[in-house]
Symmetry: C2
Subunit: 445 residues, 2 copies
């Protein structure tokens, strides 16, 4: 029923003694989180979110999702970073990484506004052509360049298609509760609005309207998702005992980091978890990568990538450890057929299921990699459903916060993200950046 | 017309003096490659491939591609590692990362046989349901588990659908020229066969039938692809002069590695280059990651991932350098519209093109990251077409080989890939592995 942390293949760094040595640090981190005394404590809204959320907005998310399902063949979700990764990760995890290709009774979902690629935007325009569609634009400020430019373009298209009045009923805005460009526009145009809470950062926002509206449109049970998270909150946010798996995993990550293993490789055996890995990379990388510190997050899908990155992991620089998420029951299984010729020599597998074969690849890889001096942390899930995923999301969020405090950084800010934006605005000639523009342009001569 | 290497933002490690210090090592590596005196010299077929390939097979690839385009709504490509990454990278680079979603006059292309995920295989079965389709199965030995199991399943489906005789005309086999399970089956069943050359390893095989058949089915000009590669061969494989950009980049990668920058982050600004990055990660990671050495290859798509991995790159551990591939002319462009309200404050961009905005994100990011002590190597391409991509493929292949020799490893083998397979076979009870099975299973108690 609940996820299981297995440190048996994590080596001595994760042994009893090593964990005992971290007891005080973990306890201090846990205290900071629970008492709101750590850095960034204005952003702890996610901690109680699974039980303490706006129930009437939650109901409105469901009814809007129903409306979108009934009147739209496609939903365009415009948002970048935490404003799209959570929703996309959940939809692919629960439904499919081929969600838009498979036959289904829910709308296609196109994620846009997360790039400045002109070709991607041109393609998005073509993808909605001739389809009934709605838009969910997601931005706290409403001025994020990638999202705002795409929204300008798509807003014109949807208004040209349906007229301003009907279009207004097809535009759903997720933004600040009272301020900002999108909120002002939504009030003026009478769009449905949903709230990006002040105390929940983008990368922790998947269980707010930011994630939940697109997720619900995909036909995913958001009640079960929240229940899973609530269960994990009970389990991992209540005490700092050594039996708390979140505390254990946070400690082990830091122990590996201190011992010079600076890359954490997130591993899964399901292609539908590729975007889940991307969500995790933002959560960990953006939370921990500061002050010259932090584990570098990377990810692979096995056994696929055992045939590309496998060689490096087995025998390259010893820089990493792996965190493997293994799902015990697959969404669907297939039997390996018997072949009377047996040219490929695989009849010893005939009658077994693919998932059984996959499970042996998983076990065989753990042994191969640990033999190759890459410690493995294993997290086991029952199945790839909403309830399990809710747990998993909350588990990783709390591990991330605890790890960050142990590391000695603020796990809730992201000051470095502004650097490229400032330069970009200056180079683009944004009013107010004239002086910077001149200085920066000289560096390209 | 040709790609351009720019080391201006790569810092002192890539300065004239540093490059001069590498002269002898580069020259020695170049000599090994050209004279076939280095490790793995049995696998240098890719070096002359752009001019020295089987012209009659090339013509047959084109005619089979035409047949598939005329009688199939979908092509299923079964292969793992180098047997799918090259084709998928090229198709997405030239056409789109949404190739299967966009409207087009060429078949959908589904890549399967590259995972043991039962759900993925179940989905693949559904994706071809009700569609006219063909299969291209790609495996040198014909016994690669992931590919062979999927082929067993799909072969039954296509034979049930069309009957054995018609199915045989829809199965295309790319395998060893004379040996192995697939070759034997193809001869028996009278399938069209194409050759995986003996002297070209999987990760260097994109310009053989392995890559070219699926690429041609996608409507991509394989003549232009080969011409681009041939141009790059002229340019980068002819002499070891200090003006050879392949030599320069190979030297700089090794200089960074020696100075403790152990992660090479491959960067692109086009979502359609995501699978190109995956191809590169196999090429570099599998070639260099051995003997406890090698740069760890990772990748991002900007500006998308500036909102997830951007914080880490800007301010996290200083472990990395970036190699940015920038495309000067986009496949398609879009103007930023004027908005009379200007609530988002972006009217300073109105009338400019998205690609212009993207180019300033690119420039602004280079300055931000180099200011944050992450050196940037920049490779500029004219456009995202076959000719430029042919150049790019050959350029990275030769850089990889040179880098590997400078690093002191064999860039053409992959001994570590067997480790997980051996364990997996034993755990699965493959005949002949009885003793290993017993030993391995004890490690799971």
């Amino acid at each position: 029923m609940s996820l299981k942390l297995n440190l048996k293949y994590a080596g001595d760094s994760a042994g009893k003694e090593a964990l005992a040595s971290m007891k005080d640090e973990v306890s201090a981190a846990f205290g900071k989180l629970k008492n709101g005394t750590g850095a960034g404590s204005d952003y702890l809204g996610w901690l109680d979110l699974p039980v303490n959320y706006d129930k009437s907005e939650f109901a409105r998310i469901k009814s809007c999702a129903e409306k979108i399902k009934s009147d739209s063949q496609a939903l365009v979700v415009l948002g970048i970073g935490g404003s799209y990764l959570g929703a996309r990760a959940v939809i692919e995890f629960v439904k499919s990484n081929n969600y838009n290709l498979i036959s289904k009774d829910t709308p296609d979902i196109y994620f846009g506004g997360n790039t400045l690629s002109s070709y991607s935007l041109a393609e998005l325009i073509k993808l909605v052509e001739g389809k009934d569609f709605s838009i969910n634009v997601i931005s706290k400020s409403g001025t994020t360049t990638e999202t705002a430019v795409a929204f300008r373009v798509l807003k014109k298209i949807i208004e040209d298609k349906y007229g301003k009045e009907e279009a207004a009923k097809r535009i759903y805005v997720t933004t600040d509760k009272s301020r900002g460009a999108l909120k002002a526009l939504a009030d003026k145009e009478n769009y449905q609005t949903f709230v990006v809470p002040d105390d929940v950062g983008g990368r922790y926002s998947v269980l707010t309207a930011v994630g939940l509206l697109p997720i619900a449109v995909a036909g995913i049970d958001i009640d079960a998702l929240m229940s899973g998270a609530a269960y994990a909150r009970e389990k991992y946010a209540s005490d700092d005992s050594p039996e708390n798996d979140a505390c254990k995993y946070a400690a082990v990550r830091n122990l590996f980091y201190r011992s010079g293993r600076k890359i954490e490789l997130m591993v899964s055996y399901e292609p539908s978890m590729l975007m889940w890995n991307e969500w995790l990379k933002q959560l960990y990388g953006e939370s921990e990568g500061k002050d010259g510190k932090g584990l570098f997050p990377s990810s692979v899908i096995f056994s696929t990538d055992l045939h590309s990155m496998g060689q490096y992991i087995q025998q390259g620089e010893r820089l990493m450890f792996e965190t493997v998420i293994w799902v015990n029951s697959p969404i669907e299984d297939v039997d390996v057929p018997f072949d009377s010729d047996n040219g490929d020599g695989l009849n010893f597998l005939a009658g077994k299921t693919m998932h059984y074969v996959n499970s042996k690849a998983f076990q065989g890889t753990i042994l191969a990699h640990t033999d190759g001096d890459v410690p493995n942390i294993v997290i086991e899930l029952d199945r790839q459903d909403e309830y399990n995923l809710g747990q998993l999301i909350y588990f990783f969020e709390i591990v991330c916060a605890l790890s960050g405090y142990i590391l000695g950084i603020n796990p809730f800010d992201q000051p470095g993200v502004e650097s490229y934006k400032k330069n970009m605005f200056a180079l683009l000639g944004k009013p107010g950046y004239e002086q910077e523009k001149e200085i920066l342009e000289k560096r390209f001569i």
